[in-house]
Chain length 328, copies 2
């Protein structure tokens, strides 16, 4: 049996209760109230992300806790991609009747655990019933100097923080539901409990000309930088494959590691264009004059489509179909 | 045929494009960027609301334009209820395959029209596919002094801005789908195109001890003030019925006007507890020592349940069932 809405809000209030400086009013009023002290002369960065059952996750593939965790991390990653620090979050959940109070409590714990790692408390939200489970998460952040997608310059290096392709390998392993082979544990964890790269984002803000987080897939997301900046980007195949965990996972699945690295999504890595290195980043390519993206490999250079997962072309990511959409 | 996600985002960007002071980066990057100038020493007020198909609306009862309009107004009303002025908004939409680009354009136009009336531009959002249409809207506002649900004092008047019960009458009329009778036009408009009472909220912020917006129903929402403030509230039946439009609509439907006024939701009126009047408000009751709420009518005083629409008790608002949930 389900508690009524007030009891469910009280449950989440207890979970999210936090002594956070700058939060005057948290859960339980018409709106959260934030003191302006945390902002000062800094810029406010603001994003919303949504995770929908059978589109971004499938309930049999992820625990309630991890569902809450990844919903918050996915939204916070957009804040990291601007070089900003998360400040606080709101969560709007649509809950079918079969998501009981224990499940809601676990989703809330996942959100709380993620919010603690991020240093950004959940200060409010909304609960609705509905036939399809979804979690919309909005995050506020602050920064001195936001890093946009536009701004990459000819001659810049292209730099990566975090892993790419691994989360997709983890999802692929879950979809096949075959007895798990060695080498796939890091991939499963990457898909189930990703981390927004906040520290890396802050480091990058000091030098990056342009940046994005890798949510749809490297080819797609780097394509956004190239298009917004009016440049071409050439990725280095050897650099993309210099990740033992990715190669192990690809081997275990019998998949191409390069394909996973280029087109797999949901890793929440950060990519920046910068003339100089930043802590936590490794070089994976170069910005050139022109347009489009290419991979420079062992057998020369070839253009690639800046594609990845597109909600409006792929019927459903987690059916296991390879996304075929172009997005530019 | 549907455009791909990038084209849809471009469509919305063109709609929402606005020369808004204080918005450094709008749609099209990882996050919106806001300059802190609009905040200064003011408080930031922040809310999220979600409208879900077959729960908060039904696609055959509302135009695409009005769906966009009411999704933004419902969220902005929470900002008004704190005595704050809306600043800007983000919208996260889940769109089934049969919501085509023309429909999306009309939803966006409804959002834009509402945002212009509110003076709060849509500066970003998120698009997902999914089986059930939903729109989550988050709004930032600013104010000198937020008005909370707690703070009502014994002896305060209870004051109302806007109409109550009318929106529910409009929905009831739509659900019956019978040939429309005279007197119901204002009710239909109230449900389809509500207005967040921003000016009234600002006026109230100068004097209110406590406030809320009437989204779930007067009895339920006034119950929140009573509970949060640790007081009793007595509503005046004659004052609740002093609205010709409500009485006309109730007559046309053969419903009790008092029942509509007490338990109908989605009017987005404002209620405050205050020792003094504010422009746009009329008195509908009194704050007393004690707890709970009551109606003082022609035949004496009787307690009423602080109930209204509760997503987790009522199966579906728009099935026409009268909400039976208690919420306290």
């Amino acid at each position: 049996m389900s508690m009524d809405e007030a009891a469910r809000i009280a449950l989440l209030s207890r979970l999210f209760e936090a002594d956070t400086p700058g939060v005057d009013v948290g859960i339980g009023d018409d709106a959260a109230v934030l003191a302006p002290d945390a902002v000062g002369a800094r810029r406010i960065v603001w994003t919303i992300d949504e995770q929908v059952d059978a589109v971004h996750f499938r309930r049999d593939l992820v625990s309630w806790h991890d569902l809450g965790w990844r919903s918050l991390m996915a939204a916070a990653s957009d804040v990291a991609a601007m070089g900003a620090v998360p400040w606080c979050a709101l969560t709007a959940m649509v809950l079918p009747g079969d998501v009981d109070d224990a499940a809601l409590g676990q989703i809330g714990q996942g959100q709380r655990d993620a919010s603690r790692v991020l240093g950004a408390p959940v200060v409010g939200g909304n609960l609705s019933q509905g036939r399809v489970l979804s979690i919309a998460t909005t995050v506020l952040g602050t920064c001195e100097r936001p890093v946009r997608r536009r701004g990459a310059r000819e001659g810049d290096g292209v730099w990566l923080a975090g892993s790419i392709g691994i989360a997709r390998a983890g999802l692929e392993a879950l979809l096949r539901a075959s007895p798990m082979r060695a080498g796939l544990e890091p991939a499963l964890a990457a898909w189930r409990t990703p981390r927004a790269l906040i520290a890396e984002g802050r480091a990058m803000a000091l030098c990056a000309h342009a940046a994005i987080d890798v949510s749809d897939g490297l080819a797609c997301d780097v394509g956004h930088i190239a298009q917004a900046s009016g440049v071409a980007i050439v990725l280095d195949e050897a650099a993309l494959l210099a990740d033992p965990a990715l190669c192990d996972a690809a081997d275990a699945l019998g998949e191409s590691a390069l394909h996973l690295a280029l087109f797999g999504g949901e890793d929440y890595a950060l990519v920046m264009a910068s003339a100089v290195e930043a802590p936590g980043f490794r070089r994976i390519g170069t910005v050139r004059a022109g347009s489009g993206i290419a991979v420079r490999g062992f057998s020369g250079e070839r253009p690639i489509e800046p594609r990845g997962f597109d909600h409006f072309r792929a019927d459903c990511f987690v059916t296991g179909k390879r996304p075929e959409a172009s997005r530019s």
